[in-house]
């Protein structure tokens, strides 16, 4: 009883857990992955699957751009079910007042080697004819992609399983501590335990500064060709940045099926998964303001999801509390899909004691405590 079951246990078979399992297995570790339901069924299934370079902060830009490069490398071996599409992102400037922000963003991306070009009003209308006339322009980032997250999580897990990892689904995890995971099927022990439980991470390891940040999405019937890029308003970052109150920001994605995925919203609502009519209404109205043709399209489904949010918008990646045997890879807010690969590489580097592929300090899980002391 309480025998060591693996070299590493990863709790959470969402996109981050799956990526971590694959990276640790690639390092030759025997990995066991535990999930209370089924792979890719949690927050991973609720999000948009936008692989995006995001510049809310330098570390975020570093992590997302590194991860995007890793996704590019991976794209050749991803199965078709992942629906990876290099459609790129258009960051929309609603009016002339936002044009300087377009240039600033372009320069920041350039500083990280990310190709981006400013597009004027006429160019924007050509790229996306369904956008309303009168928009000032946009920043086009051709290197961004979209994919279908549940399939991607599964693909990463399949890769891990191919390297000898084991997946146990339907296991209710109750607590994650140093070298030990308490579950409905008893305690599992391993020298390395990784909490990749996303929005639920803080319920399983006390003290993790992660809270659920609810979002809504609406998906339409099939309208192939309605738009060709992931289209996001520049104001999206302002919405993602504020931790209090509720906010909506225009964000639309064309899916491989021709369906349109419409977002986005943020609110702190605990674990109430019910669709909030007021927020859906605001979100849809905002979307129609940018894409008037959306108004008449058929909406098939609405759902909610919980982003795992941290106070400084950066994930927690690394050893927790300086304690041996307990690692965290969680708190990715709305960037879990994108940064799963970078997170996994960084975690694997830290676990192996290698020089990490990216500066790990901004993602140090203990940084809040360290800052308080400093």
């Amino acid at each position: 009883m309480n025998a060591v079951v693996a070299d590493a246990i990863v709790v959470g078979a969402g996109i981050v857990g799956a990526a971590c399992a694959d990276a640790l297995a690639a390092d030759g570790m025997r990995v066991m992955v535990l999930d209370s339901a089924f792979a890719g069924g949690g927050t991973t299934a609720a999000g948009m699957g936008h692989l995006v370079a995001m510049d809310d902060s330098e570390p975020q830009l570093a992590l997302t751009s590194w991860s995007n490069r890793l996704w590019q490398e991976r794209s050749r071996t991803l199965p078709p079910a992942c629906e990876m599409d290099p459609c790129g992102t258009l960051w929309i400037a609603e009016d002339e007042g936002q044009i300087p922000a377009v240039e600033e963003k372009r320069a920041r991306y350039a500083g990280h080697g990310i190709a981006a070009e400013a597009v004027d009003a006429a160019g924007l209308a050509k790229l996306e004819p369904n956008l309303r006339p009168g928009l000032a322009g946009a920043l086009r980032v051709p290197g961004d992609s979209v994919l279908y997250p549940p399939a991607a999580a599964r693909a990463l897990l399949e890769s891990a399983l191919g390297r000898g990892a084991e997946l146990r689904e339907g296991v209710e995890v109750r607590a994650i501590g140093p070298k030990e995971v308490e579950t409905s099927e008893g305690a599992f022990r391993a020298p390395v335990v990784v909490n990749a439980a996303g929005a639920r991470a803080a319920a399983l390891t006390a003290g993790l500064p992660i809270v659920p940040r609810k979002g809504h999405l609406v998906i339409t019937d099939r309208y192939p060709g309605f738009c060709r890029h992931q289209i996001v308003e520049l104001g999206y970052l302002a919405s993602a940045h504020t931790m209090t109150s509720e906010s909506v920001a225009f964000n639309v994605q064309p899916r491989a099926t021709g369906q349109l995925l419409i977002g986005s919203s943020r609110e702190l609502a605990g674990w109430d998964a019910a669709v909030n009519p007021r927020i859906v209404s605001r979100m849809l109205d905002r979307a129609v303001a940018f894409l008037p043709g959306l108004a008449g399209l058929s909406a098939i489904r609405t759902w909610t999801g919980f982003r795992p949010a941290t106070p400084d918008k950066l994930p927690l990646i690394g050893r927790w509390n300086g304690v041996d045997g307990l690692w965290v890879a969680a708190g990715h807010e709305g960037l879990g899909i994108t940064t799963s690969l970078g997170t996994a590489r960084l975690l694997a580097d830290l676990v192996a004691g290698r020089s990490p592929g990216i500066d790990p300090r901004p993602f140090d899980p203990n940084r809040a405590a360290a800052a308080a002391v400093a």
Partner: protein, 84 residues
């Protein structure tokens, strides 16, 4: 019903006469049309439930896609397209 009472509609570019008060689905069935649309994998499909549940009877009506033909009554001049 005399011929004068019939409702003229256009189906896939061809004129069809329908009885007033009939649904577009019924009009298509009466015109001998079995395939109202193509499935996502390319197979021909027609109505199953005929009461708005299954969505298999979807056609484009007057330019609007994904209309359930079993729920729409024919109107003069209506343009129906099964080739969506």
């Amino acid at each position: 019903m005399t011929g004068a009472d019939r409702v003229p509609i256009v189906v896939d570019g061809r004129p069809v006469e329908a009885e007033p008060g009939t649904t577009v689905a019924a009009a298509l069935v009466n015109a001998g049309i079995a395939a109202f649309r193509t499935s996502v994998a390319g197979a021909p499909r027609g109505p199953l439930c005929a009461m708005g549940i299954c969505h298999e009877c979807r056609v484009t009506i007057d330019g609007a896609a994904h209309r359930r033909s079993c729920l729409v009554e024919v109107a003069p001049g209506m343009r129906v397209d099964t080739r969506g």
